[in-house]
Amino acid sequence: MINDFLSKAISFATLSFCLLATGCNKGFTLKIQDQDVFAFGSQDACNFITTTVLANSLRISWKTSTPVTFIITSSVPIEYDAEIKAAATKWNTTLRKNLILVARDDGFRNSPGTDRANAIYWSSDWDSDQPSQQARTAVRWDISKLIDADIRINAKNFTFSKTDDASLQGKVNLESLLVHEFGHAMGLMHIAESSSVMQTHLASGALRNQPGAVDARSMNCEY
């Protein structure tokens, strides 16, 4: 009986010490639900990429540094220049602003990267785990202002059509693709909206070269 009493006393003392010294996690639950969010971004994203500064989200854009000039590098077949320029014009006419300029520079030798030059590359190499990616735009910024954008076109896995080709079937329309990539280059993210050129996927043979009202609204948040 003494042993029994002694063991109870020891257990009680241990439990008391445990509670006092460590808080003893066992047996307690956090009781935090998924909806217990107490802080989130503040600025309306307007479908722009955002960054967080002291618990505030800020849109990433070129701010007042427009128009933004893109170099068509020598890697891009010259026959596609008109398609790329037409894509830039689609944004400019939609927004009624001179927002995007395009010019070929065969002397431009920089590789894609942070060089503060915006360039378009025709890539015959592409990551093997991304064969369905038709193109890719990388943008870099300082605080919340864009400083660099590079567009790569996946020429390894796709062939491209021009808008006035007799048939677009089986090919990716380059003007439509560049309208989308220019959207990224100006700071836009993907959007699941059927009237938007910023939908994730551009179907082969499809013509989607006109920014929609939702795209114009997005762009008008910053430009």
Binding site: M1, I2, F5, L6, A9, F12, A13, S16, L19, L20, G23, N25, K26, F28, T29, L30, K31, I32, Q33, D34, Q35, D36, V37, F38, A39, F40, G41, I49, T51, T52, L54, A55, S57, I60, P112, G113, T114, S123, D125, W126, D127, D129, Q130, Q133, R136, T137, A138, V139, R140, W141, D142, R152, H184, L188, M189, H190, M198
Partner: protein, 193 residues
């Protein structure tokens, strides 16, 4: 024997009395005693989460980043996985930031009751650019929006701590910055291979 029993009873009462006195004179563990109107307006769940975030520490060494919390075991008492989500800063590809996810198994964490930190090494971070996935003995890394032909971003931030199953919730970067008034940011050292 009766005397011995009586002695234990008396000792027990004294011990309990001492504990009650200490507890009553110790300031509350929660932040509610702090003059913070934001905190006072939170629900009980949000307050618990705020208190949890307050325990988070982020350490950067020459080889790794570590998320430290004395509540790691407590989290694993009610959950199965802890995912640290690191996002590249100042870079977006196809409209989204490159991201590295590092998922830890609570089974492994529970095996070491003294464990209070989660480590991600810079070498794993860099290797993910080529391998896209890395399986370690107690955790798994996966890279998203990371390409072999793009520059691996240098500036990174812990943007989310996702805790899942059975208790599931996410601590986002805004919550971390609101509570701790700092971001869990780091630069990848250029010397690490």
């Amino acid at each position: 024997m009766k005397k011995l029993l009586a002695l234990f009873v008396v000792l027990d009462f004294i011990f309990v009395g001492l504990i009650l006195k200490v507890i009553s004179s110790t300031p509350s563990r929660t932040i509610s005693s702090v003059d913070d109107s934001t905190y006072n307006q939170l629900t009980e769940g949000q307050k618990t989460k705020w208190d949890l975030v307050k325990t988070l520490k982020f350490e950067i060494s020459s080889e790794a980043v570590s998320l430290i919390t004395d509540n790691l075991q407590m989290i694993c008492d009610t959950s199965a996985l802890i995912e640290l989500q690191f996002s590249a800063q100042n870079v977006a590809i196809a409209g989204a930031a490159p991201m590295v996810s590092h998922t830890f198994s609570c089974d492994s964490i529970r095996k070491d009751q003294a464990a209070n930190s989660l480590h991600t090494t810079f070498s794993d971070f860099k290797n993910i650019q080529q391998t896209k996935k890395i399986d370690l003995s107690t955790s798994r890394l996966a890279g998203f929006n990371i390409y072999t032909d793009e520059e691996l971003p240098v500036k990174w931030k812990l943007t989310a701590v996702r805790i899942s199953g059975p208790s599931t919730f996410t601590i986002n970067e805004f919550e971390i910055e609101k509570v701790l008034m700092t971001a869990f940011e780091f630069d990848l050292p250029t010397s690490v291979k």
